[in-house]
């Protein structure tokens, strides 16, 4: 029965991809951006489905297990607040894209700054930090498949099979296929997450009694600071800044700013986006906390499996498989968008810019497909190595992406900004961030702040001071 459900889900997903791509795509704007013609519901669901990844199903529950309910407020408010930065970046990006035909974030930066050093560094940072995040998704899929098949599909094979599946349908469908899939996957993901809580809560004899039982032995899980007082106010503010600044800088999210048919569509989708985290994010965190009833002693990255483990224990095999297709949906809808976004940048900003400027539309699409294959294989290798817990990988890669935010805001809004100062700021900021993250630089003075906080301050400082005292060459802002 488990296999029937899994195969049915994959076949339906594949058929939807084919339906939306009856006509072969040969135009880059159509293949990569669906002709910038998407309506509110499509933009809303693709924003949600792209943003809420396997990390939402597994990482949230895992962190809920480790830290407790304290994880909910920072994730929910931080993600909701990203809508403000969607406005700050997305509003300008949409106008620039529409006016000048930009297809990638890197093209926008090149168009505004006219500085190839800054553009190339921006591209390296934007894509480089997404590769480890991309690898998180197959890790999630591997864990899910292994758990729901009782180990019959081992982690390694789960990772390989799901990666192959994604490659095939993104290869065929492009943005149109991805958005169609996101709409279906968004509905499945949201519905099945609610169903997961209902099933687990009834399996453990009700949420109330289970929570009270856990509270008697592990009170830390119920405090706003979390286990061991993890979320201090400083760390909380750091995470808030991290989520707000990194989310719009993900290439797969940034690309979403360019696909709306008009600004009203983008605006309403952004508002609808804010309504989801306050309610939905509590569910995986609560499941993580409830996991202590049956599995009280999980440690490290093993706790990332808590959601499928609880489902396997409390739901019939077929129902657990059905619900976990929701997690697969979350995984698929993030990976497809990420693969497409990275391949778009590879095609437009490397192949077209440096290797073959006279490339035809058809060959751009073909090269885009080749990039999908290469990037997917790299992420597959990383997923098989699985270096750390999902939460650690995500926090590290998100911090690197966040430093693009002040650079982008400065380029969009400050006419006096110096591209050279932005280049230096981004370079120094990233090196400083790496120094703090890997303890090359002492971190005692930071207390409980995340490394991204001082790195962000330094980046902003260099942009401001460098622009004021440095080059007088102004940015051409042409909206």
């Amino acid at each position: 029965m488990v296999y029937v459900i899994l195969i049915s889900y994959l076949v339906i997903t594949f058929i939807i991809g084919l339906i939306f791509t009856k006509k072969p795509e040969t135009n880059p704007e159509s293949y990569f951006l669906s002709n910038r013609n998407l309506k509110t519901i499509a933009v809303f669901f693709t924003l949600i489905a792209t943003n809420f990844s396997a990390f939402f199903f597994l990482g949230f529950a895992g962190e809920g297990y480790r830290v407790g309910y304290a994880y909910y407020p920072i994730m929910a408010l931080g993600t909701s607040f990203a809508a403000i930065s969607f406005y700050v970046i997305g509003n300008k990006a949409w106008k620039l894209g529409k006016k000048h035909g930009y297809i990638t974030p890197v093209e926008i930066v090149r168009g505004i700054s006219g500085n190839s050093w800054l553009t190339n560094l921006y591209m390296v940072v934007m894509v480089g930090f997404m590769i480890p995040f991309l690898s998180v998704q197959p890790i999630g899929a591997g864990l899910i498949l292994e758990t729901i098949t009782g180990g019959q599909i081992p982690y390694t094979w789960g990772v390989i099979l799901m990666t192959i599946f994604i490659i095939i349908y993104v290869y065929i469908g492009g943005m149109r296929g991805v958005v169609a899939m996101d709409m279906k996957n968004g509905v499945i993901m949201l519905t099945f997450m609610v169903l997961a809580l209902v099933v687990i809560a009834s399996g453990i004899g009700g949420m109330s009694s289970a929570n009270i039982e856990i509270f008697e032995t592990k009170q830390d899980l119920f405090t706003p600071e979390g286990t061991g007082g993890f979320y201090t106010p400083l760390r909380w503010i750091s995470f808030m800044i991290l989520w707000m600044t990194c989310l719009p800088m993900f290439p797969q999210i940034f690309t979403r700013f360019l696909i709306s048919r008009d600004l009203r569509t983008f605006k309403i989708s952004t508002f609808l986006y804010t309504l989801i985290p306050p309610f939905l994010f509590l569910i995986p965190v609560a499941i993580g906390v409830l996991g202590h009833i049956n599995f009280p002693d999980l440690a490290g990255k093993t706790s990332d499996r808590i959601l499928p483990m609880m489902l396997s224990l409390h739901a019939p095999e077929w129902l657990a498989a059905l619900i976990l297709t929701g997690a697969l949906a979350a995984f698929i809808s993030t990976v497809d968008s990420l693969l497409l976004a990275i391949s778009t940048i590879g095609t437009r900003d490397i192949y077209l810019k440096y290797l073959k400027p006279e490339a035809t539309h058809k060959s751009q699409v073909q090269v885009g497909r080749l990039f999908i294959l290469v990037v997917a294989i790299v992420s597959l290798v990383l997923a098989l190595l699985r270096p750390a817990s999902i939460f650690k990988i995500v926090t590290m890669t998100f911090s690197g992406s966040a430093l693009l935010f002040p650079v982008t805001v400065a380029l969009f809004y400050w006419k006096r900004v110096s591209p050279a100062a932005c280049t230096l700021a981004l370079l120094v900021g990233e090196v400083f961030l790496a120094g703090l993250t890997f303890d090359w630089i002492g971190t005692g003075w930071m207390q409980t702040a995340l490394p991204v906080l001082p790195a962000m301050v330094l980046t902003i400082l260099i942009i401001v001071v460098g622009s004021l005292v440095g080059s007088r060459k102004r940015v051409e802002f042409r909206v």
């Binding site: 407020p73 809508a83 406005y87 929570n211 609560a286 909206v479």
Partner: protein, 69 residues
């Protein structure tokens, strides 16, 4: 006032400050409805206030910004 960026910077900053103060001044962490600590429900209310502010931002400020540009 509602059409000035500074107004919205203040509004959204105040929401973040209120959230931090609310969260870190909670002393009662006893399980409430459904066994979930009651401060979580208070926090949901805070987020709904943010959503309401966002709606005004989107319909009044954002519209104005579009027309202005």
């Amino acid at each position: 006032m509602i059409k000035k960026p500074a107004f919205w910077i203040i509004v959204f900053t105040l929401i973040v400050i209120a959230s931090v103060i609310y969260l870190f001044s909670r002393e009662n962490v006893e399980p409430g409805w459904l066994g979930i600590p009651s401060w979580v429900y208070g926090f949901i209310v805070l987020q709904l206030i943010y959503c309401a502010a966002m709606w005004v931002f989107v319909t009044r400020f954002w519209d104005h910004d579009e027309k202005a540009s």
